[in-house]
């Protein structure tokens, strides 16, 4: 590094985003002695990973990994976590940044024991974003069983209603504080790591694939929630239209990815995600038939390739090379017919299934919400890291579409880059 630059004004690191990448960056930096502020906009940590049923390829639940990380955070006094917090502005130069953080009110303080009395007292229900709106929850809620911090939260939608008062009255520990208001916090930090993650591409925009028009067409992230034991159906995979157990499921790969009309890039994870979800269905319904329509199956690396080969060997799973470009719904049965050309045989296929899963891709958060800092983005909204300039870095899926493993590797690397900014030797 250059010698003419000044010594860092602050020795701390700001990590924006408390998903698997942000957690990793924060922990890696903190565990070698640096002070870290971890800012998360949701009321819980864990991000997209917390919504999964299982990781691929080992098919272990996300508790494995997240719990360990939460434990490490609890034990580490150098990490300060802010949930329900948004970065409003970052100004300054590498080694000397000022970040303005808006802390949104949780309306529940640290007295909360997660007894759940407040939720029981509430009468109104609100859509559950954690489950992509597939169920409704009370306005006082615990985001999910593994929430960290383990504390209830009041939805802003019930503030000012009778429900808010009911929740307050029900609490035996004086944990509900309706007078909480948004606060702004200024942090002086030397480096910022943006681990702002991704959102599923809006399937409503893929007009020819029928999502939003036909209830039995869902997205891959909805499938994760449905299959997860803490999901809206307690883990039962069923058709949204009639709660029937599906006898056949079609997976539509590249739904909006590798598509100049939508996301021009490969989202990297959707092939493995669909192959993994095929195992969810096969496990629950041993006779169910699964049709996976793809352009190319992309399972990079020896372990993913082996996973793919194992799926291929399953005689109830049919892999068809050809992208689904048309869907129809039978108005009586609500069955879905997907249409594709099998490019190997040159025959058009009309496969009728009980439900279809769109393998929608990942869009970086910055594609739809501008990050309030002097960063460089590519045309798709991914952060382009400028290591010459240093100071601020994109990690995980804010930087490129990636699986959990690569996100963690990348996030660890960005912890190192942040530390280099502070040390400057």
């Amino acid at each position: 590094m250059t010698e003419d630059k000044q010594a860092p004004a602050s020795g701390s690191i700001l990590v924006v985003g408390g998903g698997i990448s942000g957690l990793t960056t924060a922990l890696e930096a903190a565990e070698v002695g640096y002070e870290v502020f971890l800012v998360e906009k949701n009321p819980y940590l864990g991000g997209r990973v917390a919504q999964l049923k299982q990781y691929f390829p080992k098919l272990c639940p996300p508790t494995c990994g997240l719990e360990i990380n939460f434990r490490r955070i609890k034990d580490n006094p150098r990490i300060k976590v802010f949930t329900l917090a948004e970065v409003e502005k970052v100004s300054g130069v590498p080694g000397d940044y000022t970040a303005e953080i808006k802390l949104n009110p949780r309306y529940i303080n640290e007295n909360c024991t997660c007894c759940g009395e407040c939720a029981q007292a509430c009468k109104m229900e609100v859509a559950n974003d954690f489950n992509f709106g597939m169920d409704r929850i009370k306005g006082a809620y615990l985001p999910h069983e593994m929430s960290f911090p383990a504390r209830y939260v009041l939805s802003p939608q019930i503030i000012g209603t009778e429900d808010a008062q009911r929740a307050k009255d029900a609490c035996k520990y004086d944990a509900v504080d309706l007078d909480m208001s948004a606060k702004t916090l200024k942090l002086d930090v030397g480096a910022v790591v943006w681990a702002t993650g991704w959102q599923p591409y809006d399937a409503n925009r893929i007009d020819n694939l029928g999502y939003g028009r036909h209830p039995n067409i869902i997205t891959n992230m909805m499938m994760e929630r449905m299959a997860a034991p803490n999901g809206p159906t307690k883990g039962a995979i069923q058709r949204p239209s009639d709660d029937k157990a599906p006898e056949s499921v079609a997976f539509v790969q590249c739904a909006g990815s590798r598509d100049e009309n939508h996301l021009p890039y490969c989202s990297y994870i959707c092939c493995m995600a669909s192959l993994k979800q095929a195992t969810y269905v096969r496990e629950q319904y041993p006779d169910a038939r699964i049709y996976i329509f793809y352009i190319d199956i992309r399972t990079p690396g020896q372990r993913y390739e082996k996973f793919y080969q194992d799926i291929k060997a399953d005689e109830n799973i049919f892999l068809i090379k050809g992208k689904v470009a048309e869907v129809e719904e039978d108005p009586d049965t609500k069955n879905i017919t997907v249409v594709a050309e099998n490019a190997v045989t040159g025959e058009k296929i009309r496969q009728t299934v009980d439900m279809a899963v769109l393998a929608t891709g990942m869009q970086p958060a910055a594609a739809t919400t501008q990050l309030p800092a002097d960063l460089t983005f590519n045309a798709d909204g991914f952060i382009v890291n400028d290591f010459e300039k240093g100071g601020m870095f994109g990690a995980g899926c804010a930087n490129k579409p990636a699986d959990v493993m690569s996100s963690n590797q990348n996030a660890t690397g960005m912890a190192m880059k942040a530390i280099q900014t502070l040390v400057r030797r």
């Binding site: 100049e260 470009a325 594709a340 099998n342 058009k348």
Partner: protein, 377 residues
Amino acid sequence: MTDKYLVEPDIGFLNEVVGLGGDTLKKCYQCATCSVACPISPDNKPFPRKEMIAASWGLKDRLVGNADVWLCHNCGDCTTLCPRDAKPGDVMAAIRSYAITEYARPKGMAQAVNKINKLPMLLGFPVALIIILGAITGLVNWSPTGEIVHAKFISTWLEDILIIPASIFAVVVFALGLKRFIADIHQNALDAGKTDKEKIDAAEFLKALVRVIPRILKHSKFSQCGENEERATSHMMVFFGFIGLFIVTGIFFVVLYIFGIHGPYSQLNPVKWLANIAGVSLVIGSALMIKNRLAKTDQVSTYKDWQLIGLALALGLTGMLTEMTRLGGAAGLSYTLYFIHLVFVFALFVYLPFSKLAHLVYRTVAMAYAEYSGRKF
């Protein structure tokens, strides 16, 4: 499909298809969205996905003699949904354009029709022909007097000396081309497993042709195309404009040589009504086509596209204006326009088998073949 296939790319063919508007074909990654997006593609061996890969591999023999490229009406539904921004519709059009040149003989003439710099020569040829033949035969009167009758200027004899051989020439060129074309599309269908008919039965084939013609007249395939429906309307106007004028010309010819009655006909004559309606339809239809093409920036428009629409518009305009100036009594102007009109009519017939208008014959035959071979499209 054979087990072993040695790919022998024809680079010259590939480059020509690229030059004829198929420049996006290399973007294709074979996802097959296009085959599903196409509203008229059959379920068995649908197009245009297989044409896209054959084109990018330069497999000329799989494309030029492939009836499927003619079943496509270039509506652009495939192009709209293509995730790679490739334009399968334009690639198919480029292959058709190449095929017209391929089947037309003499080759030199086909190449000349494809080149804009040969246009003055192609139009100059009929001009010179009228002048020279007029001088030799004395059938052109360069200073007609009295009431405006175009036959006073250029005799109907001379007209027919020009147009009849021109039509025969077109028929012969088509006949020779079709002989090879039909053999090729049948072989292609056999190789690709698109038909179970071993040989072409001429009588059955003609029956299929008869079944197809009403569909063509109704534009029933054309109007299934979703993305640019308005094209079917303008195409229908030009199509029926030409048919109407062809009928009128036929009646003229018969009445002239059998009954010895000369034009121009009275405006009250029903044949004249038909002529006027057809002429207006041709002008409006071709003007609409120009408007649509100019507005549709995502579709490739090549010289051959403009050449055909331009010719249709020129034919319609010069024809209508000749009549209007005649009725208006502008003799000099009317005779001049008539001369120009005649040049375009001659060009229409002589260059027909080489121009984009040849699709009239090739697409009809390909659709009849698809019907004959049991290809459900």
